[in-house]
Symmetry: C2
Subunit: 264 residues, 2 copies
């Protein structure tokens, strides 16, 4: 049984910790600089925690870094355990952030492509995990850990991973922001966000059968200028929403223009 220290106590740390315990990894310690989060996750997983790097468990086999991108380098540089395997979980940061630690021989990346919230259960089994190692042996080692947790494990280098992360910003963060805007608009009509849920669910369920390209509907793909003008006039007092409306409608029109012309 592998012994694991989890560095971080946020959403990724929480879900990864649970998933590792479910697969009989021994989480020996949680480290977090924030006592509150450390206490909470440690009590959730029933393991010790520390907020002091001096008290870090130095006997673990694997150190998983699940901290914010902005502090990751700093934390890595302060930990000095040469013989263990060191793995970060950040989509947008390269493998090379470990390079400054010249004495580290085994390090890599384990990037689970999912949006984690503490309050939600997720099925780790289905989450695509992208792995990279500083040698093929190390990558294989990380791959095996990932395969214990998920059916969908892929190799990816740092450049590929950045693009995956970027596409996730479009497919998750930006999509969610459009839901926020839709909520604001539907409230101005006197209804609650709930009325949009069946539409949103079907928009996503369609993707099991159709590519998003083929699933596109609406005024922009039909180039229905009457409706587009009407919508823009409804947004007159919301210049930032009307800018988003214009930019996205233009982009849809451009993406399908060739096909529309072919059809005509």
């Amino acid at each position: 049984m592998k012994r694991v220290v989890i560095v971080g106590a946020g959403n990724v740390a929480t879900h990864l910790g649970r998933a590792l315990q479910n697969k009989n990894f021994v989480v020996s310690q949680i480290f977090s600089r924030t006592e509150n989060s450390a206490t909470q996750l440690a009590s959730d997983l029933r393991v010790p925690f520390t907020t002091n790097l001096q008290s870090l468990d130095r006997e673990a086999d694997i150190y998983f870094y699940c901290v914010k991108d902005a502090v990751l380098c700093d934390v890595i540089n302060k930990i000095d355990i040469p013989d263990a395997l060191h793995v970060h979980t950040a989509g947008s940061l390269p493998l090379s952030i470990f390079e400054s630690h010249l004495q580290y021989r085994r390090y890599g990346v384990f990037y689970p492509l999912q949006t984690f919230s503490k309050t939600r259960k997720v099925n780790f089994d289905e989450i695509p995990i992208f792995v990279e190692g500083n040698s093929s042996e190390v990558e294989e080692e990380i791959r095996q850990i990932a395969q214990t947790l998920s059916k969908r494990v892929f190799s990816s280098d740092s450049e590929q991973r950045k693009k995956i992360h970027l596409s996730a910003v479009f497919a998750c963060n930006f999509v969610n922001h459009l839901f926020s805007i839709a909520e604001e608009l539907v409230k101005t009509a006197g209804y609650s966000f709930d009325i949009l849920l069946p539409l949103i669910t079907e928009t996503v369920n369609k993707l099991n059968e159709l590519s998003p390209y083929d699933a596109q509907t609406g005024p922009a793909v039909r180039n229905d200028q009457n409706i587009i003008r009407q919508h823009l006039s409804l947004l007159e007092n919301k210049p930032e929403f009307s800018e988003i409306y214009s930019v996205l409608s233009e982009s849809i029109y451009r993406m399908y223009k060739k096909d529309i012309q072919t059809r005509e």
Copy 2:
């Protein structure tokens, strides 16, 4: 049992026709100017069709107009059956498009808030339907039809409906376009769109517990300028995607700025 003529043979006509038949309405005829669609839907519903307005069944109780916005007025003006109930299904068009028909006494709107594709089954029961009538009696009549089909029926006037339709463009059409962009980006990294599906599903499932405002994550809400710059440089050769990235990131930042400042 009410006798219904469906004017149109597209996606809305198809799903509405099936739903009405399931609830024992008699669909007596399909009218469409496009013979192909008319034939297909008529054979699907096992009812007669016509492509000629002169042969329209004049004995129906209800005429449902499920045609494109651009041709709706024209079709309405060519049909002249004063005693029936006339109902259109367009979110963005007002009740008043029936007004030119001075002899019509009973007309209204029945707007199902859903994205329909012919190949997909939808559960009409859950679809919010927004009804409006030219008098309270007529609206009640339309409401009762809607309640036969769905548990979620709301009154809405034409101004409210326009806003609902606008919010649906954000929550469905624009969201789907972001999925198309994400697909294009993830392919440049060498992966298929499938790898994004668990993330997309969870983004939507979260909405059952959290408002989209509370569910927001990602670099823009954290105002993580390092990642934002990195992403924009990945999009250097895709100016239209980088414009969308900037506009949405800016809008997210503005929406949460107050909260970020409060937290600091």
